[in-house]
Point group: C2
Chain length 248, copies 2
Amino acid sequence: MPLKKTSAQEITLSVIKTACSNCNLQELCLPYGLNETEMSKLDELVSTRRKIKRGDHLYRAGEAFESIYAIRAGFFKTDVLLEDGRDQVTGFQMAGELLGLDGISTEHHSCNAVALEDSEVCIIPFPRLEGLSREIVALQHHFHKVMSREIVRDHGVMMLLGTMRAEERLAAFLLNLSQRFTARGYSHAEFYLRMTREEIGSYLGLKLETVSRAFSRFQEEGLIAVQQKHIRILDIPGLKKLMTHQSA
Amino acid sequence: MPLKKTSAQEITLSVIKTACSNCNLQELCLPYGLNETEMSKLDELVSTRRKIKRGDHLYRAGEAFESIYAIRAGFFKTDVLLEDGRDQVTGFQMAGELLGLDGISTEHHSCNAVALEDSEVCIIPFPRLEGLSREIVALQHHFHKVMSREIVRDHGVMMLLGTMRAEERLAAFLLNLSQRFTARGYSHAEFYLRMTREEIGSYLGLKLETVSRAFSRFQEEGLIAVQQKHIRILDIPGLKKLMTHQSA
DNA sequence: GGGGCACGTTGACCTGGATCAAAGGCTTCC
DNA sequence: GGAAGCCTTTGATCCAGGTCAACGTGCCCC
């Protein structure tokens, strides 16, 4: 149901629920820093949602690029496929994060986005976003920051893949998840992994067995408690130390 | 020497030389797709240059971010430093490419940019670029594409670091350089490397000895001719095959 | 134009993580 | 509720690339 500008008295519960101006992810997502008037303009733009079932694709590499997506709820992975069949997970995305920025470049998506649990995204038609960000300085600037942040994040992953040993990579991965869950108001010490050992390994440039062994080792050393996908982090400073101090 | 707006008859040779509208890198750089009027507006913005000597920094991690830079001539590397002293080269940049996009995110540069040969950059004050890209749709759109391209490039490097073996990485690296030199009108088969084996290794997540051995191996197999920094590519299909076919 | 030094090559050996293999536990879907 | 299959763990072995070491080379600066 597409949504038109509404006066105050016409606002229904469902409208309230679907507007950026009422979204509790504002601070993490695209609307960051907008005033009320600006926010309501953005509301008009971001009016449709899409639910994606666990295991389904939000988009696939090669498809025409039309929109970016803000994750309203759920958890995704993005991955890239090489001609010879090898693939790699390039990232895991959670609520408030944007998907699809890779597609702007060629006007075709360059990776696959797959839901790792039942999820919902806000659809942001890209040409209209460009239009609005010509009007709203704060939106333009924040969008640029978000793209830049993605570049910085990728440099961090390159660093991880290029210089860290297996256990350092996994420690960095867990600390990163912990920090992102914290920013969303969840426990920083206890969470369910949405992805398999193989997907973690793919992201970290390791084989699934190595990931599994590293988890076991962390458990032996009292750094974490693992049971399958359920993780409890017991010693954050310990993990940090392991990450930086190991191979000086 | 800062440059002010000039009327037609005031234009000197040095001004002509320094304008985007007369730059032969237009097609690769920021002005791509602009009409004449738009180009002249961009000329006003991109009015100062800076020369950087081999080995000098264009900017350092932590410095306040104010401008992005378009490489007018020369060759750069960017690298990131970890607290424990480990570092990694995150990219090599050549004429027509932009530097500094990582700084938008936090308003501080997140990596170092170092000239690998005597170089010259055009300084593009970022707030003014944002201003102009609110006026010029084509500029806005192209800038978004450039940032997105950087994200896609980084995913390619992650892929390389995460899934490829040493010789595949080096083959991918050589083919990428070859293709970028070609786009700039240089020979696709013969070039001087501006970086050391150690810098190549850092970028590719390998040790310098491994890079050196891989070069020797390629030479034995007749794929390339190497003498120190001078490279001649003899068998592009061979390198491509090696890149994809190896570990299927 | 010569001396020093950073860069590059090559060899020998070692090791972290890949690979191969097998068995046990969850989840999911009839 | 039961069975099938996926996911995970753990062990044994292997090897690509790292590490250590020594030597060669060419470039740059005085």
